[in-house]
């Protein structure tokens, strides 16, 4: 469950964003940046909740950048996400030369509870509300949605920003709930694993959650094997989640159907 929390939050973010038709490979960068700002704020203010809030806000801000680039400026969504990842992954060293931070106490469990609540909430919002219907309509056929008066840009912006907020919460989890310390690269590709989980979960919140439990299980298993003293080099155990991701993405593809307009920029005529 510990491993599953940030994965699920990011995967839920992925679900919302892609349901509206915007691919979000920036989840990884969002999580790492949020882990960093969340940690710094919590350290400076001695208030963990402010740290968590800072993480969420960071996710929102970065998501707004992703939305502006990919929705308004029509940058290819994958390229835009990639740029954000470059900035986030390589900028941490640039920023972090200022304070040298030690570990702080970490919060117990609240982010995990928030994650469980978020699953239910996203499922409900996407499939049982007008907003959810509109978001899905935009993700399937933006032109048709536009024709009936839905503001495609606004729907997509909101979805991407929500996605960033969730990823930000997931990022704050790393530095504030799990370890209580910030380490460069501590997200270790989990933003991408979350995307795979989302695909495996067929772009559905609950499905994504189950897929995340599977990945978290693999991670926990490799940790367990390592402790048990079986002579497998730790690097091979470390590969497990990544290899599993590859297999899952390849295996799930035939059966899962993405939102029809996923990845396609929309340009109002």
């Amino acid at each position: 469950m510990n491993e599953a929390t940030p994965l699920t939050l990011a995967a839920l973010g992925g679900v919302i964003s892609e349901r509206s038709g915007v691919v979000n490979i920036a989840l990884e960068g969002m999580m790492l940046m949020s882990a960093f700002t969340g940690y710094v704020v919590a350290f400076q203010t001695h208030n963990l909740w402010l740290g968590v809030l800072a993480g969420v806000i960071t996710g929102l801000v970065i998501a707004t950048l992703h939305a502006a680039l990919s929705i308004s400026l029509l940058v290819d969504q994958i390229v835009s996400g990639f740029v954000i990842n470059i900035l986030a992954l390589w900028h941490i060293p640039l920023l972090s030369k200022i304070p040298v931070l030690g570990p702080i106490l970490f919060v117990h469990q609240p982010i995990t509870y928030a994650m469980l609540l978020a699953i239910v909430l996203v499922q409900f919002l996407l499939f049982y509300t007008v907003w959810g219907l509109r978001t899905r309509a935009v993700g399937e056929h933006p032109l048709a949605a536009d024709t009936v008066g839905i503001n495609v840009y606004r729907v997509r912006y909101l979805a991407v920003m929500l996605s960033g907020g969730l990823a930000g919460l997931g990022g704050a989890y790393f530095s504030l709930q799990q370890i209580g310390q910030f380490l460069p690269n501590m997200t270790g590709g989990r933003g991408f694993i979350a995307l795979a989980a989302m695909i495996f979960g067929k772009w559905k919140p609950l499905g994504a959650f189950y897929a995340c439990l599977l990945f978290a299980g693999a991670e926990a298993l490799s940790g367990r094997i390592q402790i048990s003293g079986v002579h497998i080099p730790f690097q091979f155990l470390g590969m497990l989640p990544y290899l599993l991701t590859i297999i899952v993405v390849a295996g799930a593809m035939g059966r899962a159907v993405a939102p029809a307009a996923d990845g396609k920029p929309y340009r109002k005529a």
Binding site: L69, S72, V75, I78, H91, P93, V249, A250, M253, G263
Partner: protein, 363 residues
């Protein structure tokens, strides 16, 4: 604006303005962190061109960017986003260094060619895996190549840290030195400038020829333009994807082998500092045109070698270069931005269109 001047805007002005914008944004970042941007960029310039041995060092750093940029660009032309160049670079270096240190007594030309070929094979195989997964199962190459990067790092880490390739005579974790016969000859004595640069200069026309003058190149471009049309024309999209990924990875692998045989002559566990990711910016800046890869790679070579001196001289982190890089990518990849700036009636064609049409390959 007529067709011709629009083409000039797209090919020359757009990259130049992107780079200028990159420096402006990076300058702001430097100023915000409390340093003098002009002084820093002057140090960057000194470190890249003026200091003794600066220019050869810049050319040394240019070489891998040429191969890697060509590889990534080849993928772009087929609508594939090979984010795995970094991992393929590692595997290429791994294969190259293995042939380099395990064989002895061969004539230099044979040994060098064998080791470079091993690098190509390593990169080819590593990239062919996501190629097959995409062609056969529709798994999006963005996820699979990134995941294979992590796997490549872990594999290299194992082999060189506590695995069979560690040099027992050395206290630091690294492979043994490659045989002198396998080391690429130095072009200018007293510098590290090696024959790999010449290979890079040869690779440019070769890739251009492959793309523009051969059947496989035509297939690559057609698939990139429209997989549906390609299929209708009887082109096997699956084979084309596989071949493109393989060649793209082969070039990245060649870069890795070239770097081991030409510069370090051994391989430490953490080998590259993101060459494979920078290469994506190089390819975008060159707008996936093989000829334009030379100036684009040279620019990034200069940034890479100059930033080290800048960091040493002004304490401004060399990471500031990634701000330049990110801004460049944003500008290049945002055609609408240029439409506004130049009041064009039509935006210049975007340099990348990642194939979202290939069936089932959703992300």
């Amino acid at each position: 604006m007529n067709q011709r001047s629009r083409a000039i805007v797209a090919a020359v002005l757009l990259p130049v303005i992107s780079v200028v914008a990159g420096f402006v944004v990076a300058g702001l970042a430097v100023a915000l962190s409390g340093s003098d941007p002009f002084q820093s960029f002057y140090a960057l310039f000194q470190g890249a061109f003026i200091n003794p041995r600066a220019l050869p060092e810049t050319l040394v750093a240019t070489t891998p960017y040429i191969f890697l940029g060509l590889g990534v660009a080849l993928g772009f032309r087929a609508g594939l986003f090979n984010i795995g160049a970094e991992g393929q670079f590692y595997i290429g270096a791994l294969f190259g260094v293995f042939i380099g240190y395990s064989l002895h007594g061969l004539p230099a030309i044979v040994h060098i060619l064998l080791a470079l070929l091993a690098g190509i094979v390593g990169g080819f195989v590593w990239a062919a895996v996501p190629g097959i997964l995409k062609a056969r199962f529709g798994a999006h190459e963005v996820i699979t190549t990134i995941m294979l990067n992590y796997v490549a790092f872990a594999l290299v880490n194992f082999l060189i840290n506590n695995g069979p390739m560690v040099d027992k005579a050395s206290s630091a974790p690294r492979t043994p030195y490659v045989d002198p016969a396998a080391q690429l000859p130095i072009l200018v004595s007293g510098t590290r400038l090696h024959a790999g640069l010449i290979l890079g200069l040869i690779a440019i026309p070769v890739v251009w020829f492959l793309l523009d003058r051969t059947t496989i190149g035509f297939r690559i471009r057609t698939v990139g333009f429209s997989p549906t049309a390609a299929r209708a024309a009887g082109i096997s999209v699956a084979w084309t994807i596989l071949a493109t990924m393989g060649i793209s990875g082969g070039l990245a692998g060649l870069a890795g082998a070239d770097e081991v045989l030409g510069v370090s002559h051994y391989m430490p566990p953490s080998f590259s500092t993101g060459y494979g990711f920078d290469a994506i910016a190089v390819a975008l800046l060159a707008r996936s045109n093989p000829w334009a890869m030379l100036p684009a790679a040279f620019l990034f070579g200069a940034l890479s070698s100059g930033s080290r001196f800048m960091q040493f001289q002004t304490q401004v982190s060399a990471d500031v270069i990634s701000v330049v890089e990110a801004t460049v990518i944003m500008f290049i990849a945002a055609p609408v931005l240029f439409q506004w700036i130049f009041r064009l009636r039509r935006a210049p064609a975007p340099p990348v269109k990642i194939a979202s049409e290939t069936e089932g390959a959703a992300l």
